[in-house]
């Protein structure tokens, strides 16, 4: 039987892959949890699209400042060495390939690395894209953090995206509650499976062939 891990455990697993000194953008929602799990001894620089580097954690209630917010419009703090800059510069940081890693949520990721995370295309829904398309094509490594399956059990790793695309061939790696998958020229490669999950089980869940790229346990 496949074994799932929690959001917090997944954030901690992802944080292991962020190297010391990295410039990182964490998308709104679950990806923000990664900041709480950076391994001891590593110093990373968080970028927020609304114009700040070296963003710190949320303040206590006595230090909320409406002029100091993150991309999710939540209050944040400064770390020593913080810099502020305007939106054109902030998106130049993304588009110009200066970020080492960004972590995004997703509705779907295709085996080619296509990302769909901005619109379900439902009639009557109000479209909103924000910085998602810029992040998707801009960072050196685009990581997706999401559940492997939708609430009604459909796989979110797919052969081709059905939802409107955010970016083409942009995702490097997908962290899910069942395992970690690289996007490769040969399709999805399983690099880490959680608990007792087997490749065959995951292939059956997804309806896709997987390359087994797990490091053998010694």
């Amino acid at each position: 039987m496949a074994t799932r891990i929690s959001r917090g455990e997944l954030a901690a697993r992802l944080a292991q892959d962020i190297p010391d000194g990295a410039y990182v953008n964490l998308g709104i929602g679950a990806p923000t949890l990664v900041a709480d799990h950076i391994p001891e001894g590593r110093e990373i620089n968080l970028h927020t699209e609304n114009g700040m580097l070296r963003m710190g954690p949320a303040p206590d209630a006595q230090h909320v400042d409406p002029d100091l917010i993150n991309a999710g419009k939540q209050p944040v703090t400064e770390l020593p060495g913080t810099s502020y800059f305007n939106q054109a510069e902030s998106f130049g940081i993304m588009r110009g390939g200066h970020l080492d890693v960004c972590v995004l949520g997703a509705f779907e990721v295709s085996q080619h690395g296509d990302l769909a995370n901005w619109s379900t295309g439902e009639p009557g829904s109000i479209p909103a894209v924000g910085g998602a398309m810029d992040l998707a094509i801009g960072a050196k490594r685009v990581y997706v953090m999401m559940d492997l399956l939708t609430r009604d059990g459909r796989p979110k790793l797919v052969a081709e995206c059905a939802y409107p695309l955010t970016g083409r061939r942009c995702v490097a790696r997908v962290y899910t509650d069942h395992g970690v998958f690289d996007v490769t020229p040969d399709g999805f490669a399983l690099v880490d499976a959680f608990g007792e999950t087997t490749v065959a089980e995951l292939e059956e869940l997804l309806g896709l062939p997987l390359v087994d790229a797990r490091t053998p346990v010694e």
Partner: protein
């Protein structure tokens, strides 16, 4: 003597015409020039096109302007928020037009207009439905879409401090769209908490030099900067007063 300071906020925005394209700074509520927007509502110009990152929060500022029924079209990247009920209602009723632009393309279109560049190629949005009909071109084996610069008749911006020459400093992440928008409008109007003497602003730290600014309107300190410096524990992230009872 150069003096761009206009103490009367209604006078400062009085020449905004019906049908104007108006850029409004801010990311959510941070940097939103609420006093200038309130003056624009009182002024009554209609059939406006608004360029702003979001489409209003709560019932104040940009949301109140939309509610007044004077906006024909919104150009923005992220209209849908938890507190964007005014825009949501107008959009669902078909009473407002939306041009959705990815945020980086939006701000670069604005920056380009201010920098004299009529159009540029960008990788953002390639292969997406937002650019299904766009002109594309390959550079170095990668595909890009052509997008055009975006200028405005008027830019309304919130700064922190300014001098009579129009040099503007911002506060923290409230800077956001201020500098690019200031450069991209025929008339740029900046509300600030305080006007300081010429020479008081550090010349090494002026994100918007006065050449981009036409009018400066002092509106007084905001609730969380009561004497020009940040004071904690007074407001929530929306700038609303917080309960202070029992505070040591």
């Amino acid at each position: 003597m150069i003096d761009k300071v206009v103490p009367d906020i209604d006078e400062a925005i009085a020449d905004i015409a019906d049908g104007a394209t108006v850029m409004i700074g801010g990311f959510g509520r941070a940097g939103q020039p609420v006093d200038l927007i309130d003056a624009l509502i009182r002024h009554g110009a209609r059939d406006l096109t608004i360029v702003s990152n979001n489409a209003g929060n709560g019932d104040v500022g940009l949301a109140a302007l939309l509610k007044s029924g004077r906006v024909r079209k919104v150009v923005c990247s992220f209209p849908r928020q938890t507190d964007s009920w005014v825009f949501d209602g107008l959009y669902r009723a078909g009473e407002i037009e939306l041009e959705l632009v990815p945020q980086g393309n939006l701000v670069e279109r604005i920056r380009a207009a201010g920098a004299g560049i009529p159009a540029f190629y960008t990788p953002t949005g390639v292969g997406t439905q937002l650019y299904a009909d766009a002109e594309t071109r390959e550079f170095g084996g990668r595909e890009y879409v052509l997008v055009e610069a975006l200028r405005a008749d008027v830019a309304l911006i919130q700064g922190y401090r300014a001098d009579r020459l129009g040099n503007v400093q911002y506060r923290k992440t409230a800077r956001n769209f201020g500098p690019p928008m200031a450069s991209a409008a025929t008339t740029t109007i900046v509300q600030v908490d305080e006007v300081v003497p010429v020479g008081a602003l550090d010349p090494e730290s002026i994100p918007t030099p006065g050449i981009f600014v036409d009018r400066v309107v002092p509106v007084g300190w905001r609730a969380w900067t009561p004497d020009g410096e940040y004071a904690g524990g007074l407001v929530d992230v929306n700038g609303e007063p917080v309960e202070t009872e029992g505070k040591g």
